[in-house]
Subunit: 307 residues, 2 copies
């Protein structure tokens, strides 16, 4: 059975709570691209969806967040863990979702009133993943997934990687909020969301920072951040287009947002030495750089920086 | 009139919606430490609270987020902007809240049914700040404040900076959720929350990364992140204590969380060259480093890192 094209994010017309009689219906609706496997993933691109069926002894599902056990090492007969899992294949792809900021659709196998069916649960982010000894004594990979608040969901995207030229028309309207997932106490939340534009700029620079050229590597792939030059949202209303984003490491993203440095129209840096690395297909628009300079940049030393 | 001691975060017994007849009542309850000024701040420590009174022509208040205009440059007679504002004094302190991740209490002056009073609105974070030309043509500083979802609010803290030894008993329970602020479309959210522990570790290292010694400077102060070694929250349940946090730059925080590197019990690094800088008063506990190594660290090259 051929898989439908990979698609990350919401499926049009399918809201959380939508029910499906069986895996084939789920597959036909494009919610989960596998009829048996729990993880639907694309090699090197991340995981689009999972089905939580309660088959793993170490799974835990609290609705707003869940612990999902990776694939592999399980006996077909007993269903028990009989060997170590590895961070390869579908497990590696699910790990990539954290690094790339990709959402994953979660569907649950449910039994109610003697009926077994599948209920779509919404988009989750992979908040973290790690290895541990499962109850069986074998090594398992675990993924903590957290329900994404609906107002900040990325829009569903086409399967193919859009060309930079296509991105200028993809202005997105924020969805209406319906409330957010409860969270545990945290001191830092870094939620990086994937969009076609952020992916395009990171690919253009091979995940290297345009300021310092650092390339951060993790076991699940390279990590970089797309920084909007003129900010999104009110009152700035910068567009989510390639001409308005930079590929930066987290350090330079923080410094850019805090106004520690800015970029002149000739792409030399203000507040730092050097010049922005620029790809000929980037199309970075100087009027956005001007907006950032005017609003965010503060000349070093102009104000006291003691703390 | 002497100010009550500075206190960031919630005031015990004061919930959003709490009403006060006048500024003196507000002051007496400890919600706002000034009887006239709109910003209550401590030099070098940030702003604890603001009162939004609609006095500035460029203010905008949409409830879940608001644009707040800085202080200064306004005529006492006309109330109009007659000169440029500067990023100094109370304005600088409010800017520090963004850099330090400090929450600010927001109270609104309200007129309903012919009555004017003050209504506490809850804790907000300073999401960004910038300069622009106000309607008057003069330069103003603007602050975008966003309502913090209640479940991740930092607990109210004592006025004095706690000694490291005091922090081990400050385990915090997460509050119950009541829903989150609606947000505009964003691709990256970096919400850094201040706690006594995170502040202590950053001060111990003068905001220098314990791995690379970088010190990120912004116009409103130095920026660093407190990284929990054994993560907070289920299922890891690491404690929010000084012995379980590191002072890291954002780049090394990301790499640490993604398992690109770890720390041996002798504080040399795994996956990176070198050794962790360690302050003699830090009390970093090796069993937390062990937990992180076992669960998060992946030997470089053990898994494919293509993307």
């Amino acid at each position: 059975m051929p898989q439908p094209p990979a698609s990350f994010g919401e499926i049009a017309g399918i809201r959380p709570g939508h029910e499906f009689r069986n895996r084939l219906e789920l597959w036909g609706a494009g919610v989960h691209g596998q009829t048996q496997a729990g993880i639907s993933a694309r090699a090197g691109r991340g995981a689009e969806s999972i089905v939580v069926s309660g088959g793993y002894e170490d799974d835990l599902d609290l609705g707003a967040w869940l612990l999902y056990t990776g694939k592999g090492g399980r006996s077909n007969e007993s269903g028990r863990q009989v060997a170590d899992q590895t961070l390869t294949g579908a497990n590696l792809e699910l790990a990539r979702n954290q690094v790339l900021g990709l959402p994953v659709r979660v569907t649950r196998k449910v039994t109610e009133n003697g009926l077994t069916f599948y209920r779509y649960g919404g988009l989750y982010r992979v908040a973290s993943y790690w290895q541990e000894q499962g109850r069986s004594g074998h090594k398992i990979w675990r993924f903590r997934l957290e329900l994404l608040p609906e107002e900040v969901l990325p829009a569903a995207e086409p399967a193919s990687t859009a060309l930079p030229g296509d991105l200028f028309s993809q202005a997105q309207e924020p969805a209406l909020p319906y409330g957010a997932a409860p969270r545990q106490l945290t001191t830092t939340l870094r939620i990086v969301r994937d969009t076609a534009v952020s992916r395009a700029v990171k690919n253009l620079y091979a995940y290297r920072c345009q300021v310092c050229a650092v390339q951060l590597a993790s076991p699940a792939g390279l990590y970089a951040e797309a920084a909007h030059v003129r900010p999104l949202g009110a009152p700035h209303h910068g567009p989510d287009v390639l001409g308005n984003v930079l590929c930066l490491c987290p350090n330079h993203h923080v410094l850019f947002d805090l106004g520690s440095f800015a970029v002149r129209n000739d792409f030399t840096l203000l507040g730092l030495n050097g010049k922005l690395t620029l790809h000929r297909r980037h199309g970075l628009e100087p009027h956005f750089l001007h907006y950032h300079r005017e609003h965010y940049f503060h000349a070093p030393g102009a104000y006291p920086a003691e703390h």
